[in-house]
Every structure is written in C-alpha cells, then in structure tokens.
C-alpha cells in the first residue's frame, strides 16, 4: 500500500508539472492581459501602463516568466498578486476558513441526506416517495444554480425573513449561531446537486445488489433487515458513489463560484474568478494548481477507499 501511494505521488507530481506548463502557456497566449483592466480606466495614462508592464515583468517572454514562477512555487513563494500587490499565499490563506466551512457543510449535508434518501428510494422502489425523489432529482439537475440560489433568497430571506440574504456574518455578530444562519442557504445550494446525483447513484447501486443471491441468503438466514441493508447491500453498492464523490471534491472546493457570488460568501471561488477576469496570473495559477491537486487527491482517496470497501481490491 505504501509503495502504491508513493508511486501515485510521483505520477501526480509529473501530472501537476504538465498541468502547470499547459495552464501557463494557454493563459499567456489567451487574448488580453493583466493590464487590460487599466486600459479601460481613463485615469490610467499610457505611460503608466507601459511602466506597470515593465514593473510586473510582463515585457519578458512567457517561458521565462513560467520558469521564475515555477521556481517560486517549489520554494514556497507563490508570488504577489498583480492587483493587490499582496502575497498570493496570504490571499488564499484568508479564504481558507470560509471555503472550508462552506465546503464541509455542503459535503456533510450531501452525505447526511443523499445516503438515507438513496437507501429509502431503493428499498421502497416505485413508491410515491421514490417517485417524488426521482422527480426532485431531475428537477435539481435541470435548474441552474444561480436561479435556485436567487429563488431561495427571494423566499427565505426577502419574503419570510427566516434567513439572512447574503454574507457570512451579521455586522458585529461573530457568534456560531449567526454563522450557521448565514451558512444554511449557500450550503443547501452547493450541496443539493450532490444530494441529487449521489442519491440516484446509491439507489441504482442498491437496486442491483438487492437482487443478488447473497442478499436473499442473508434474509433466509434470518438476519434482521437493517443488518442486511447496512452490511450486505449498502457496503456493496458504495464503489460507484465513492468514485463520484472523489471527482466532486474539487468541484465543491473551487467550483463554488456561482454560489459564492450570489450569497456574497468570501471564499476561494470568487478569488479565482476575479483573477481569471483580471488575468492576475499569479493568483490564477495558484487556483489552477489547487484545483488540480484536489482532483488528484480526490481520485487517490477514492481508489484507496475501494480497498477498504471491497476486500478483493488490493494495491501492491
């Protein structure tokens, strides 16, 4: 197992290097550049733009800039944002609490709801509950995140005043209760897609296992239904859903742009979106690398979980 993880680690490092090279070159070749935002500002004179170009090192060819960026990355210095002049690591660091809070809440919500819902749907196949759940899942898949977010806002915050509209805290209120109130809607919006898809995967996985001989045997032995479900059915239906969860990890982390924008949540997604729009290369590259690392880690974790779930899978 240890050697397997080490081997995957080396693969990941090579992959990350390739991702960074391709990412950096595409970014540099894309139309526009970090100074375009100033070109649109009547107060910024052309001489200033020229000077800024030189100060930011943008008059060098992209491969030289890439080399110095890579050197910084390896030595733990991720450079300074072109726009705020602040260290990129600081900017990411201050987003981590908000990002983790939102991601872990959405993740917990998704796990807490999708498993029971999926299991219930499988055990009560074609009941009205199952049908309602199917309808709900397809509805969730079909609706755009921004629309759902705004509708929730209109209903729960504007109309009924049950929850705050947006933000992470009330002014002057740093209590946990206040944080939870602000967290509810964004976590729901971010988690609901996962709830819909994971519960569908679990349902179909369990339906397949439910028809197996060993399940009938377990019932025949006189095992109570909940034990059959938990030990024989649920565990054996987890492989596909673990794959999906591994792939979803980086989406929850860096793909929360729309949710963060609508609910003014100060997370990582907005930082990277702004960097993308402004062509703030150092921040943009940091976002790309973090997203790539999470995707690789998520996959590795999924692969390792397979072995824990299915004793037949062994990694040498």
């Amino acid at each position: 197992m240890g050697s397997y993880v080490a081997q995957r680690g080396v693969q990941a490092a090579v992959l990350l290097l390739l991702v960074s090279l391709v990412g950096y070159s595409i970014m540099s070749l894309a139309p526009g550049g970090p100074l375009a935002v100033y070109l649109h500002n009547p107060h910024v004179t052309p001489e200033k733009i020229d000077l800024l170009r030189h100060q930011l090192g943008l008059d060098q060819p992209w491969y030289l800039r890439y080399a110095s960026w890579l050197k910084g990355l390896v030595s733990g210095h991720w450079g300074y944002s072109y726009y705020t002049g602040r260290p990129v690591l600081d900017m990411i660091g201050e987003r981590l609490p908000a990002t983790f809070t939102l991601m872990l809440s959405a993740l917990s919500l998704a796990i807490a709801l999708s498993f029971p819902l999926g299991a219930l749907a499988a055990t009560h196949k074609y009941s009205w509950g199952d049908n309602l759940l199917s309808l709900g899942s397809f509805f969730v898949w079909a609706m755009p995140t921004f629309w759902f977010g705004l509708m929730l806002q209109m209903a729960l915050a504007v109309r009924w005043h049950l929850l705050p509209v947006a933000g992470m805290h009330e002014i002057d209120n740093r209590s946990v209760g206040d944080l939870l109130r602000h967290l509810t809607m964004p976590a729901m919006v971010l988690g609901i897609g996962s709830i819909a898809s994971w519960s569908r995967y679990l349902r179909s996985g369990m339906l397949e296992v439910l028809g197996q001989d060993y399940v009938r045997t377990a019932y025949a032995k006189g095992l109570p239904a909940y034990r059959v479900m938990l030990r024989h059915v649920l565990r054996n239906s987890l492989i596909p859903i673990v794959t999906i969860m591994g792939l979803d990890l980086h989406v929850l982390f860096s793909g929360a742009v729309i949710t963060e924008s609508i609910f003014a949540w100060p997370g990582m997604g907005r930082l990277f979106l702004a960097a993308l729009n402004n062509r703030d290369y150092p921040v943009q590259m940091a976002g790309l690398m973090i997203s790539a690392i999470l995707l690789i880690v998520g996959n590795l974790m999924a692969d390792l979980t397979y072995a824990a779930l299915d004793p037949r899978i062994r990694y040498e």
Binding site: L29, A30, P31, G32, G33, L35, A36, V37, Y38, L39, H40, N41, P42, H43, V44, T45, P46, K48, I49, D50, L51, L52, R53, Q55, D59, Y80, Y83, T84, G85, R86, E94, R95, W128, L132, F146, L150, Q153, M154, A155, A157, V158, R159, W160, H161, P164, V165, A166, G167, H169, I171, S261, I262, F263, A264, P266, G267, R270, A274, N277, R279
Partner: protein, 525 residues
Amino acid sequence: MKPQIVAVVLVSLLVVLPVHRTIAGPAPGTFVMAITDNPDNLNPYLAGLAASSAVYRFAFDSLYTINLKGEWVPALAASYAVSPDGLAWTFKLRPGVRWSDGAPLTSADVKFTWQLATNKDVHVTYATGFDKIVSIDTPDPLTAVYHLKEPYAPFRDQVMGAALVPQHVLGSLSADQINRAPFNQKPVGTGPFYVSEFITDDHVTLTANPQYWGKKAKLQRIVVRIVPDENAQVNLMRAGDLSVLSIPAARLDEVKRMPNITIKRYLAPTYALVQLDEYEFLREAPVRQALDYATPKESVIRNIMKGQAEPAVSDLVPNGPYANKALRPRPYDRARARKVLLEDGFAPGPGGVLYKGGKRLEVPLWTVSGRAYFVQAMQVIAQSWRSIGVYTETHAVSAAALFGQNGPQWNGKDEALIFTWGQGVFPENKINWHSSFIPKDANSPGENDERYSNPEMDRLLEDADRTVDEAKRHAIYDRIQELEFRDVPIIFLFWLVNNNAVAGIVQGYDVTTFNTTLPEEWSTR
C-alpha cells in the same frame, strides 16, 4: 384528501401568500452600501478599480473638492492663488487638520503626494497632471507652492482635486515597500471616516474619524459590503439590509413599488460609445458620419436602457460646465446614411453589401460580454448597419480580450467597439483625441485607440491645456466638441442614468452627477 396533496397545497400557499413584516434596516448610526468588486487597493494612487474609489473616498480629502452643483469648494486648503503666468499655484492649508492617526497635516504631505504620484518604481495608476509639476515649495507648514513646467488649465481637476496621502506613514518606505504596504488595505487619511476593518470579498467598515477637521460625522460608521451579484444586491435592499443601492434598470419598477424607499435619479458622468478604429474605410469621415446616422440611439435608449439614459453629442457631460449646448444628436436616418455612402463612391455589390475599389465595407461590432445592455445594443446597431449595406458581424468577449494586446483593436482592420467611458465632469481631452496619443502598436502607450487625427483638433487641445482663462477655455472646448460631432471619431451613444434607492431611515443623503452630499451629513434614524 391524500396527505401528499395536502402538503403540496400548503407549500404552494406559503409561496403565494404575501408576508407582511416591518423591515428593521441596518442598526441606527450604521450606513450600509454594496459594491460589486473587491477593492484592489485603498491607496488612491495605486488603485485600479472603481470599487476602490467607492471606499477610499470616505477616508481621504483633497485640497479642494466639488459640491453637488459641480463647483469647487475648499477642503484641506483654505484658499489658493494662481500667478498671472499660470505657472505657480499657492495653497494655504487649513490649520489644525490631523491624519486619522493623530499626526498633523502639513505642506510636507502635499509635496510627498506629488513625489509618490511621480515615483517610477511605485505601481502608480493615477498621476495625470502631476507630471506637469517641476517642484513644490513649502515655505511653512501651512503653505505649498506648486511650480509648473507650462500653464496647465486642468490643474484643478487633476491635482487640486486629488487625494493627499501622509508623508509620515509612507515617506520612509522604499517603492517596493509602498507597493506592498499594509496602508493599501488600511490607509491613514484625513477624511470623515477611517478604515477600521477590511475583510476581503466580504466588507469594509469605515468608522467615524474622531480627528476629522470638518463637522463631526452624524453616523458612527459606514459598512461597504462586497456583493458580486446584482440580483443579490437588490434582494439585500428589499430585505432592508442596505441603506442605499444603485438599482439596475431591469429591476427599477419593482424597487420603486417598495414602501419606505425613495429613488434618486441622476445623470452619471459616464457615456456609452462606439469606438471606430480607423484603419481602412473608417479613416474616411463620411463613412463614420453615415454609421452615426444609421445608429438608432433613441431606440436603444427607449427599448434597451428602458429610458435610463440620455442622448450624447460629445464627451462632456450635458449638465456640466463645459458642454456645448448648441449641438444636437444626428437624427436616425438610414436613407441619408446610405446616400452619404453612395456619394462617397460606394456601390451595392453581392448580397446588397456596399463595395468601393473592389473592397467590401466591413465593420465588425465588438462588446464586453456579461452586460446585457451592451450585447442587446450591439445587435440592434448591427441590424441597422446591415440594412444600409455594411457587412457587420457581432462579437461579445471578455473585457480583457476586448482591450488586451491580442484583441480586435490591434489587427489593423476596421473595427467598432461598444463600451462605456467615464470622462468625468472636467475635460482633459488630449489623451483621447490628440494624434500624439495614437498607439503605435499593441504594446505602445496611447489612449487615442480610434486613431483619430486632425491637425486642428491637435492645436485646439494643446491650446485648451495652456489656456488658464476660463472664458477662453470654454470657447476652445466648444469648438473641440463641434469637431467631435463633425468628424465622429467615435459614435456617442448615450449618457448613463443612475437610480439610487435610498432607504426611508436615511437622512441627509443626496447625489448628483458631480458628487454626493458630504458623508458626515448622512444619518440614519
């Protein structure tokens, strides 16, 4: 009835039934506003985004400032005098002014501001006019004398109205340290409020400055929330979380119906334009005039802007002191547009498109994606241009792609770009129309991106900058605007109208094209 049907009916009723509850609004003494972008830098000379000036304006003062009517009134300076040759501007500072950290404001700060703005190693984004200064004398702590290279009429708008920054905080730092100073997030200023908290992408809190030289602020603080989504901003206003908000035209009617909200409508000093990049056919004035005739501005204002815009004839705000009131927009007249083109030697060719010298009259339209009204206006204009025989494709791309170095402006072909430009109230038009500001290639500086060149315009612009006499300068600008109108270097589409929703609990707040009322006069019940 089945339980599930009962559930569905109950949920539907909850959604449909109106809920009446009083809106609490922000706490008394707290004024809450919303901006879309995270401020990039709160040092006025290093900031690149409008979001930054929306915040630092509360924390900094200038020597003189503009009131609601667009007139200059004293702020940090008590008075000023100009030498007869226009080369020396002497300012007497207001005594007793302190920075928010308690240090006194002196003429050394005035001198340092100029040194900062012209420091080549600092990432300065705003320094127009400061390059005209040769030296600043500080004979005593309350007197500062600017010496200029040449008479410079926009001095007041560019330098006198610019923020002063503290020498005692930044003066001992190297350029690199200034670029990365904590000051850029938590600046020290002389304004009625100071930045007490800045949580990136969340909010900035400005607390009333106890050292303030003017009237003590009625508010305890101003909270500027950073909310990227416009609809979420309107929802915040509707939930009573904001004191004031600029309302997008699409949601104006809905907000107008809300109780306890007043709408302040004002003309913004920002105009929408079609920039005509003069490379081939667009170098001919008749072609540009024809495109102006074929641009349905009234229809765009009425149907796309929902009336929240006003016609534009030049780049000077129509209710401002320099607007040429004699000019009227060209009427929308496609027959006339086509006639102008035919007289210019164009003839219909394949597909009804006009040709001259075997070349097709091709003017693609470009705009920034993401702002619906730009994209809609582009389609309407393209439709009309096509109908007079211009071959027009449309493209909506990101701002970085539109204005950046591989963008359409640099391909050497005729192109038309739709965007907005904040000219401000006072003219400094040289960078826009003077031929020396035509960029030579994508990497060279220059703001005259349309590549307009006219010797008379060049001469007028140089004279305007040198003419300190107000009446003569007005006359020159009248003529400059006549040329803008005659030659159509760009098509002026319209001036934007802003609608600020103000919560009923707010008092003392007003806004015009030129400024808001003083923030220290704002209050909430």
